[in-house]
């Protein structure tokens, strides 16, 4: 673990301990959490270039540094939104949890060892159960319990695979594993089995189809800042980031996807998630539930690209993780604003919200178009990378299916727009208005990032993706 990485863990942890003492205060915990997370974001941006040369294995340092930026970006926005949107009860514990989960996620992406990764995964899981069920609503508690059961099974499988790794390789660090892989290029079967078991654990943690049953309940019933955090970054860190690490190792073992049965199986899981998520999102009548199914579909894109593991696919997966973090967090913020303003997120229970909440509707439209991969928004580029990588590797059917699912994404979001935001304002929203700057600023910031990352994609490519592609090549 890099020295700077320790700061990303220790400082939020210390701040969480302080926050917990101010449980009855309204402002102090929110201010402290926001300052710490904003400083963490600045630190992650400034240390990105310093970390590039310090690889444990191919490209992992670039991946870690980029993920740290995404974690702190989303956590900062969530803490800012929560400062205005969270309930007035037990705010100290709430913000302390946000800080500890951020520390846990930073630990996961900066780990150089599978056992360390497991320890921090558990930190994130414990905080997730508590945050989902924080206000003890029946639906949220049910979602938390489902997540607990599935996550516990995933943790047991992961621990089992780590113990097998210890038996086979004599260690669990990425460095030891890389050395073992290079020494046993002729017989990859045992490592394929172990990494296959590990990939299964991470797919469960990511909430991919068919392990998705907890996500709709948890996202719908948790508070909007928590939903934004879970969909925006938590499932990516505990699921797809870890899956990317495994897929990178699998790719090294098998010299690419051609001889890689585990990688191919993971690709099929990814494709099934893309299609299942997109089809189920069409049927939903609740804004947040639709976003939950949309998340399953988008996680599928990241998974399919991670499993393909060519440099182009990996860059696409990494950029789509960033894009999904920004547009999905924005959409959950918009859902939170709508819920606070109208008391509901039922799509058919209102119409014409655009007239009453024009800024929220505008920002949400940007995020929806980006999710669907419409140019020139950032989502277009990452989906283009993923589909081009699939096509280049000869997976024409999968590329076509991914493209088709993108059209489905546009369809369900247009349905949402037409039902909720467009048209003549319904009578039940005549007194509705925007909820103030605290709710709008995070939406505007993310909308700006989505537009800027799309329009100035060459800058993103040169500074963030190109170093990653260079190392992988």
């Amino acid at each position: 673990m890099l020295m700077s990485a320790a700061f990303f863990i220790v400082i939020p942890l210390a701040a969480a301990a302080v926050c917990a003492f101010f449980n009855k205060k309204q402002t102090a915990p929110a201010v402290l959490a926001n300052i710490v997370l904003a400083c963490g974001l600045l630190l992650s941006l400034t240390t990105f270039s310093d970390n590039l040369g310090q690889d444990w294995f191919y490209g992992q340092a670039v991946l870690s540094s980029f993920m740290t930026i995404i974690i702190y970006l989303v956590s900062s926005a969530v803490a800012f939104f929560a400062a205005f949107a969270a309930s007035t009860k037990r705010r100290g514990s709430y913000f302390a949890m946000l800080l500890v989960i951020t520390a846990g996620m930073a630990g996961v992406v900066n780990a150089a060892d599978f056992f360390t990764l497991y320890v921090y995964l558990e930190v994130v899981s414990v905080c997730s159960y508590a945050l989902i069920s924080f206000y003890n609503r029946p639906r949220s508690t049910e979602g938390a319990i489902r997540y607990f059961y599935l996550s516990s099974i995933a943790s047991a499988i992961l621990l089992f695979s780590i113990s097998l790794l210890m038996v086979y390789a004599g260690g669990t660090s990425y460095e030891v594993l890389t050395a073992k892989i290079l020494a046993t290029q002729g017989s990859p079967a045992p490592l394929n089995i172990i990494l296959g078991i590990m990939a299964l654990a991470f797919m469960i943690k990511a909430g991919l189809f068919p392990f998705h049953s907890w996500t709709p309940d948890a996202y719908e019933s948790a508070t909007s800042p928590v939903s934004a955090l879970l969909a925006g970054i938590v499932t990516k860190v505990v699921g797809t980031y870890a899956l990317m690490v495994v897929c990178m190792l699998l790719s090294i073992i098998n010299f690419g996807i051609a001889n890689n049965p585990v990688g191919r199986a993971v690709m099929w899981f990814g494709l099934a998630s893309i299609i299942f998520g997109a089809l189920n999102a069409q049927e939903q009548k609740d804004f947040k539930r639709m976003l939950a199914y949309s998340s399953i579909s988008q996680m599928g894109y990241i998974t399919i690209a991670a499993a393909l593991a060519t440099p182009l696919a990996m860059a696409g997966a990494l950029f789509h993780m960033f894009n999904h973090a920004t547009f999905k967090a924005l959409l959950f913020f918009a859902a939170g604003s709508v819920k606070r303003a109208t008391g509901s997120t039922e799509i058919d229970s209102m119409s014409g919200l655009q007239a009453k909440m024009p800024y929220t509707a505008g920002a949400a439209t940007v995020a929806m178009l980006s999710t669907a991969g419409v140019p020139p928004f950032s989502g277009f580029w990452s989906k283009l990378f993923i589909i081009a990588a699939l096509w280049q590797a000869g997976f024409y059917g999968m590329a076509a299916a991914a493209l088709f699912a993108s059209v489905l994404t546009l369809a369900y979001f247009l349905k949402l727009q037409r039902g909720m935001f467009f048209g003549k304002p319904s009578d039940n929203i005549k007194d509705v208005r925007e909820r103030g700057a605290g709710f709008l600023i995070p939406c505007f910031v993310f909308a700006f990032i989505i537009i800027a990352a799309g329009l100035y994609f060459p800058f993103i490519y040169d500074n963030f993706l190109s170093p990653f592609i260079r190392v992988l090549q």
Partner: protein, 164 residues
């Protein structure tokens, strides 16, 4: 081998009993027993330091925390009784799973154990202090994070009880 089998069987029984217990305090006691048996496994596997940690922290400290939390959160009792009903088929499911694993896992994992690293599991030539402070420092920090997260989670549950 027979000692290991006895200890591991005892662990499976204790974990089942912990999940199926009708009172949360009983679940905490079975978890403590599980930790004691696990410590036995660690001693038998020539890892006395890990055994001592398991005994003192998991069987000792954590059990005290669980027991005090269980006595404070009285409303958890009805939930535990409901859960116990849900889990009544768990022993049978576990038995079927165990038999399936017994018959199928051998051929799958045989190549793995045949190719095991020669030094895997051998005691390292380092002191416990060096291992903890030099090699496993990030894990130690992670344990601290889990501890803070656990305390906050318990506090959240108890806090909600007060709200109600």
């Amino acid at each position: 081998m027979s000692l290991h089998l006895f200890l591991v069987t005892g662990m499976v029984i204790c974990s089942l009993a912990a999940v199926m217990a009708k009172r949360t305090i009983h679940a905490a006691i079975f978890l403590a027993l599980l930790s004691i048996l696990l410590a036995g496994v660690m001693f038998a596997a020539n890892a006395p330091w890990a055994g001592v940690f398991e005994l003192s922290v998991c069987a000792g400290l954590i059990t005290v925390l669980f027991a005090s939390a269980a006595s404070m959160v009285g409303r958890g009792e009805s939930y535990a009784k409901r859960e116990a009903k849900i889990f009544r088929w768990l022993p049978l499911a576990l038995l079927v799973f165990g038999i399936m694993v017994w018959w199928t896992a051998g051929p799958i994992f045989a190549p793995l154990f045949n190719a095991a690293a020669p030094n895997a599991g051998a005691p390292a030539l380092m002191s416990v202090g060096d291992i903890i402070w030099k090699l496993r420092m990030p894990d130690l920090l992670g344990q601290l994070c889990i501890f803070v997260a656990g305390v906050l989670t318990v506090r959240t549950i108890l806090g909600e009880g007060k709200d109600e």
